[in-house]
């Protein structure tokens, strides 16, 4: 569906994807969200809103027409190194009652992520639905960057599992990052599903996070949502997002990754006057395989 096509039905969920200079990564991410890739997610069940944050050669909706997505591509003006304002714009455009913020367009989805997240969100009136973040590679991409890991190496890894024909095998070639385990204090998720009412209540992302890549903005909204009265964290077991190499601000920062991490910490502390600390409650676990809470 092109950006100009009138929309007559309301999708069950809107996914707002942010990209910047992701000519290689974004097509794979959008493929991973498409009906041909996602299980139990027929055409029209979700809308995907891509907000390009000022790329020199921005993506066009017509380039992805073959994917069968209800897709809109919006070009945000260049000049803002933080994606937060662009992301909030996308959240405002979303039509569905359930909205997912996908702050990094270089992250592919596992094949049951969308349907599991939608099903999990139905289990509570104020759900905070989260899936763990992985890096493609047998170590974190911060570590791999120091060893020369690059896009070609990533392509070989993907070829080794026959991706995209066997998308569930992404777990075999990837590494969980940023305290994503079920017993760990979760810090963030790249696929954050909440109701429209909740996004409105929290005011979206805090636009004072002006660091490149948004800094701790994604942690901040996730932690604020989990701490808000009456909300329920629901972690999805068996699904994840998988970060591709793309020269990103944090995950691919290499030697400067520590400096970037400290800068993120400083900005968060200046704004919140407390350190970034993961969610203490383990929340509920929704098993994607069984379609039920554990």
């Amino acid at each position: 569906m092109s950006a100009e096509t009138p929309r007559l039905t309301t999708p069950q969920a809107s996914i707002v994807v942010i990209c910047y200079e992701m000519a290689r990564a974004l097509p794979r991410t959008l493929l991973s969200l498409s009906p041909q890739y996602q299980r139990d997610c027929p055409p029209g069940m979700i809308e995907v809103i891509v907000i390009d944050n000022g790329s020199r050669d921005p993506p066009r909706a017509e380039d992805f027409a073959h994917l069968g997505l209800d897709l809109r591509v919006v070009h945000w003006p260049p000049g803002d190194k933080s994606p937060v304002k662009a992301l909030n714009h996308g959240l405002r455009l979303a039509r569905a009652p359930l909205i997912c913020a996908w702050i990094d367009g270089a992250r592919m989805a596992s094949p049951g992520l969308v349907s599991a997240s939608i099903a999990a969100a139905r289990l509570h009136p104020r759900p905070v639905v989260a899936t763990p973040n992985y890096h493609i590679g047998h170590e974190t991409q911060i570590a791999l960057a120091l060893k020369g890991h690059d896009e070609a190496a990533e392509d070989r890894l993907l070829d080794s599992i026959g991706w995209p024909a066997n998308p569930e095998r992404l777990f075999e070639i990837s590494t969980a990052v940023w305290r994503s385990g079920e017993s760990e204090r979760m810090l963030e998720t790249n696929a954050l599903f909440m109701t429209r009412a909740m996004w409105d209540e929290f005011g979206g992302y805090d636009e004072r996070f002006t660091s490149a890549g948004g800094g701790a903005a994604n942690c901040d909204i996730f932690l604020r949502a989990c701490e808000a009265e009456g909300t329920q964290l629901i972690r999805i077991r068996g699904e994840a997002t998988f970060h591709q190499v793309h020269g990103g601000t944090t995950s691919n920062a290499g030697e400067s990754g520590l400096d970037v991490g400290m800068a993120i910490s400083r900005e968060y502390y200046r704004l919140r006057r407390k350190p970034i600390v993961g969610v203490r409650s383990p929340g509920w676990i929704f098993d994607s395989g069984t379609g039920a809470l554990v």
């Binding site: 400096d259 991490g261 400290m262 910490s265 200046r270 350190p275």
Partner: protein, 86 residues
Amino acid sequence: MTTPLTDAETLRAWLKSYISAVLDLEADTVSTAVPFDSYGLDSVEAVIMAGVMEEEFSIRIDPTMVFEDPSIDGLVKALQGAGLVR
């Protein structure tokens, strides 16, 4: 180089307090001599802690200092060596 504003004992006490608060530990159980990860402070949390230290004490830390001798005593010693702590 500017004159360090913070003395080693103040920083040591702050680090114990910080770690105990973040990890829900009694401050008395946080040893200054053992590695951070022995009481569950992982590398991500150590980086976050270093960023907060920078804000609290108005200093700039080489992040590798946090990992060369990853303990409270080791970090304080490294910061003293760099002239950031009295």
